[in-house]
């Protein structure tokens, strides 16, 4: 049976909701805080900042990290910057404007109350990060520098060269390590979460596996925080790092946590194209390149294999400028991505694979000179040259869209608590504040907002009402969860012993191809139905045996890790297709071919789909049940986007 979800957002005007929440929340007596233990899984921006903040507040924190050190988390790869409504540029920015841009950019599929809070705390994040020693870019005056980003009309993006994510993560990581020194955080690296333990309806712990020794352990706490990132690697090829996976969130989902909007995926238009079958990873090139580069493909498919410099102006189709005269090459990410796909589908794609479009700087170099372009984009041009062995000062870059962020994730209320009491979900792992499309430079903002400035309050409110029961790590729930985790490892080993036609890597790549072709930039009913049956068949193949060798000690093994990820991703992929099938409208990054305007733009259906889709697991993805949280827009009235 389907239920309607309650966001538990405070009532009253949006400007005062968060203040009211803080005024009304319950507090834990300072002397009692150290009696509460909180588990934090993940050490990216959200997890590291949450660990540091909760430990500083006085709680005992146990933090778990899948990498060899917390500083490797994928937040580190964010290049561009972090938004904050500081209005340092005196250009009319405000909390309200950041809120408005985020709701509109998310194509009216986010929760207004959460987004407003995000915009409110954005300014504190900058103060916090500067106090933590983050070396943001500065002006000659010694004040912080800002730039514009992602098509907004104000300059509100703070940055540290092209390594903003790295510097913000190191700031949070260092604060957390200080708490390790203070013995307030107990940190376990090279450890993965295998299961969530729910006792009397509350999240009370996790089962973990040591990735060096293979040892499985039980860990208990009064609350569990998941900050385990997104699931873009379900597409196999993405800009996400190898350890970015859905496993922790998926295990929580299988224990009852609802998965919100799984089909909302962001596809970034400017990534270096795939060069061959062995490609393992895609590299993103900053969106800023579209400020000066012109996107084109040959007018005729017959010219697609010709050298770009041999093609006369008249034989080139600057398709974005042609179709969107007012925004041109600066149309939003989803529009740019989809159009690249269309021209490649027409056979006009370039490069050896035919899956690329040109991003040409010839005119910009002519207009501004080599030096200006070098100053603006030198590091990106260098990176491109290193990877492709082509010099973008001489020949146009080749670009193709790639998956790089997932807006969907575990469903949370205003407290960032899932439907399982005591299970909190932060950062990209939750279904988030970004609706159906995330604006550039907003991921870092959300991760740190959740970890530094939301969870310390909402966790206190939860723990103040927490009554400890008789549960221990010897409780049957813990023993059962450990046994089921052990059973999974044994199952994986058995699959390897059985053997099969393919390696897990090959099955994983097949899954990625299905997802990219049918659950990618453009989706339609027939394709999604096909995807579901193909994924089911692939899962069957996987579950009947694979080519895999696992070391006898079951310790450090890439093969075993990949197999466990693939098993989870095969289920998630099916749920994403199912969610995309159910959401018959187009919105943001979710484009249903059946729902477009006459101009080929995404057409929302507010009457039927102004809701969050939250899926409940019922033993198999094919049986998952859909719950809804309806979305109302009191402040930002939904309109149809147009970039003509």
């Amino acid at each position: 049976m389907s239920i309607t979800l309650d966001s538990r957002a405070p009532s009253g005007p949006i400007e005062s909701k968060w203040d009211r929440y803080k005024a009304d929340m319950k507090l834990v007596n300072p002397a009692n805080k150290r009696k509460h233990t909180v588990i934090v899984v993940g050490t990216g921006l959200a997890g590291a900042s949450a660990s540091a903040s909760l430990a500083e507040a006085g709680y005992q924190v146990k933090t778990f990290c899948i990498h060899d050190t917390p500083r490797r988390a994928h937040s580190i790869a964010a290049q561009g910057g972090i938004n904050a409504a500081k209005n340092y540029m005196n250009d009319g920015d405000s909390v309200y404007r950041l809120f408005y841009d985020t709701v509109k950019g998310g194509d009216y599929r986010s929760r207004e109350a959460n987004v407003y809070r995000l915009a409110q705390v954005s300014t504190s994040i900058i103060d916090q990060s500067v106090a933590a020693g983050v070396p943001f870019a500065r002006e000659y005056s010694g004040e912080l520098a800002n730039r514009s980003f992602g098509g907004t009309q104000v300059s509100r993006t703070f940055y540290a060269r092209g390594q903003t994510g790295q510097q913000l993560l190191l700031g949070a990581y260092q604060a957390m390590m200080r708490q390790v020194d203070e013995k307030a955080v107990e940190l376990r690296t090279r450890t993965e979460m295998l299961d969530l333990v729910v006792i009397n309806g509350k999240a009370r712990g996790i089962i973990t596996r040591n990735l060096v020794t293979g040892q499985i352990e039980r860990h208990m706490a009064d609350a569990v925080v998941l900050a385990t990132g997104g699931y873009g690697r379900v597409f196999y090829l993405s800009t996400n790092a190898f350890n970015s996976n859905v496993s922790a969130a998926w295990r929580a989902h299988k224990r009852g946590a609802y998965f919100g909007n799984p089909c909302f995926t962001q596809i970034h238009p400017t990534c270096i194209p795939v060069s061959g079958e062995d490609q393992s990873k895609l590299t993103l090139m900053s969106e800023s390149l579209r400020n000066d580069g012109r996107v084109w493909v040959p007018k005729s498919a017959a010219d697609a294999k010709k050298h770009p410099n041999e093609l006369a102006e008249a034989d080139r189709d600057y398709y974005l400028e042609r179709r969107y005269p007012s925004f041109g090459n600066l149309v939003p990410r989803d529009v740019a991505s989809r159009n690249a796909k269309y021209v490649c589908d027409e056979g006009r794609g370039v490069g050896s694979s035919g899956l690329a479009v040109y991003l040409d700087f010839k005119d910009a170099i002519k207009r501004l000179g080599d030096n200006v372009i070098r100053e603006k984009y030198g590091n990106l041009f260098h990176m491109y040259h290193e990877i492709t062995n082509e010099d973008p000062y001489q020949v146009p870059m080749r670009m193709y869209p790639a998956v790089h962020y997932t807006m969907g994730g575990l469903w949370v209320d205003y407290h960032l608590q899932s439907n399982i009491p005591g299970l909190f979900v932060l950062g990209e792992a939750n279904f988030s504040d970004h609706g159906a499309n995330r604006l550039g430079a907003s991921a870092l903002m959300q991760g740190l907002a959740d970890g530094y400035f939301v969870i310390p309050f909402t966790m206190g409110n939860y723990l103040a009402g927490f009554k400890r029961d008789e549960a221990t790590t010897e409780s049957s729930e813990f023993k059962d969860a450990q046994a089921s985790a052990q059973g999974r490892i044994d199952h994986m080993v058995a699959l390897g012993k059985k053997g099969g036609k393919h390696t897990t890597q090959e099955i994983y790549r097949s899954l990625g191809k299905i997802m990219w072709d049918k659950v990618g930039m453009e989706r339609d009913e027939a394709g999604l139905k096909q995807a579901i049956s193909q994924i089911q068949a692939l899962r069957q193949e996987f579950e009947s045996g694979v080519k895999m060798q696992v070391p006898e000690d079951l310790g450090r093994s890439q093969a075993l890790e990949v197999a466990m990820r693939v098993e989870d991703l095969l289920e998630l992929g099916e749920l994403m297709a199912k969610d995309a099938l159910e959401r018959k409208e187009s919105c943001g990054g979710h484009f249903r071919a059946e729902s477009q305007t006459e101009d080929g733009e995404a057409k929302r259906d507010d009457e039927n789909f102004s809701h969050v889709s939250a899926w409940e697991y019922k033993g198999d993805v094919s049986k998952s049940v859909l719950h809804k949280e309806s979305l109302t827009f009191e402040y930002v009235k939904p309109t149809q986007r147009s970039y003509k």
């Binding site: 900042s49 540091a52 500083e56 507040a57 990498h67 060899d68 050190t69 500083r71 580190i76 790869a77 340092y88 504190s124 900058i126 103060d127 916090q128 500067v130 106090a131 933590a132 020693g133 943001f136 500065r138 002006e139 005056s141 010694g142 004040e143 912080l144 540290a160 390594q163 790295q166 510097q167 190191l170 990581y173 260092q174 390590m177 200080r178 020194d181 690296t189 060096v212 800009t239 790092a241 190898f242 350890n243 060069s275 061959g276 062995d278 490609q279 393992s280 990873k281 590299t283 290193e386 062995n389 390696t503 090959e506 080519k547 060798q549 070391p551 310790g555 093994s557 890439q558 093969a559």
Partner: protein, 252 residues
């Protein structure tokens, strides 16, 4: 644009765990295109090994775009291989020729015990940060970010040092196995910013002492570290660290 295909011969360090003596094993990988990355070549080797019913070569990587600091191979004697200013994951097979023999080893240092094959334990670096690599500011309200001005030049220099990705190539390159470049990069970053000043003395003293405790060697100004550093961090940071250390010692 057109990819050339080649065959490479590998000598790869295999070691079951830290107590195992370890040895080189020879492999040949065929049909490698020159626009594959070095790690994709190792991926291919592992697929071949799985298909042949053998155990994969364990190695580490994560972001594969040169920022997370996870990948860590010594390639033909050089940490991160022959290209300067690049991590292992940023190395492409076009750097090699058809028929080349490539020797692949883990980071080798007393303070980095081998976990398996090419995977080593670098947690000593974390413990150095743990004792002082921070400003000490707690989460909460702070003065407006623009209330303390930082000269652009200092912010830029701080960023040069803060760019460290914590990969440990400096330790692997150093004949003494010293972590001085890593440690001094953090100390230099913090000493250049006003926010780093309150803990200045305890920071340098504790971090340098921790470096010794972890079994890292001493710096004798050889300079291999800065050649191996994928972020091209300069050893002038080590001079800053020494100055900070002596200042702290005099004032304590």
């Amino acid at each position: 644009m057109s990819a050339k295909k080649m065959t490479v011969h590998l000598k790869v360090w295999r070691q079951k765990n830290k107590n195992d003596a370890g040895h080189f094993e020879d492999y040949t990988v065929q049909d490698i295109s020159d626009d594959m990355s070095f790690l994709e070549m190792l991926d291919r080797l592992n697929v071949n090994l799985q298909k042949a019913g053998k155990l994969e070569v364990e190695f580490e990587s994560d972001c594969r775009e040169g920022i997370c600091g996870t990948c860590s191979c010594v390639i033909n004697g050089q940490p991160h291989g022959p290209v300067t200013g690049a991590a292992t994951c940023q190395l492409y097979m076009r750097q090699f020729k058809d028929g080349d023999t490539i020797v692949i080893e883990p980071w080798r240092a007393k303070a980095f015990p081998v976990i398996r094959d090419l995977v080593v334990d670098r947690s000593g670096l974390d413990r150095i940060i743990t004792v002082g690599g921070y400003t000490g500011a707690k989460t909460g309200p702070h003065a407006d970010a623009n209330s303390i001005l930082v000269p652009k030049e200092n912010a830029e220099k701080a960023m040069d040092y803060a760019a460290c990705i914590g990969c440990g190539a400096c330790v692997a390159a150093c004949p003494n196995g010293s972590a001085s470049l890593f440690t001094s990069a953090k100390i230099s970053h913090m000493s250049l910013l006003p926010q780093g000043h309150p803990l200045r003395q305890s920071r340098v003293t504790r971090m340098v002492n921790q470096m010794d405790k972890e079994g890292f060697g001493h710096c004798t100004n050889i300079g291999e570290c800065q050649s191996a550093c994928p972020k091209e961090i300069k050893i002038d940071s080590i001079a800053i660290m020494r100055r900070e250390f002596f200042n702290a010692a005099i004032r304590s």
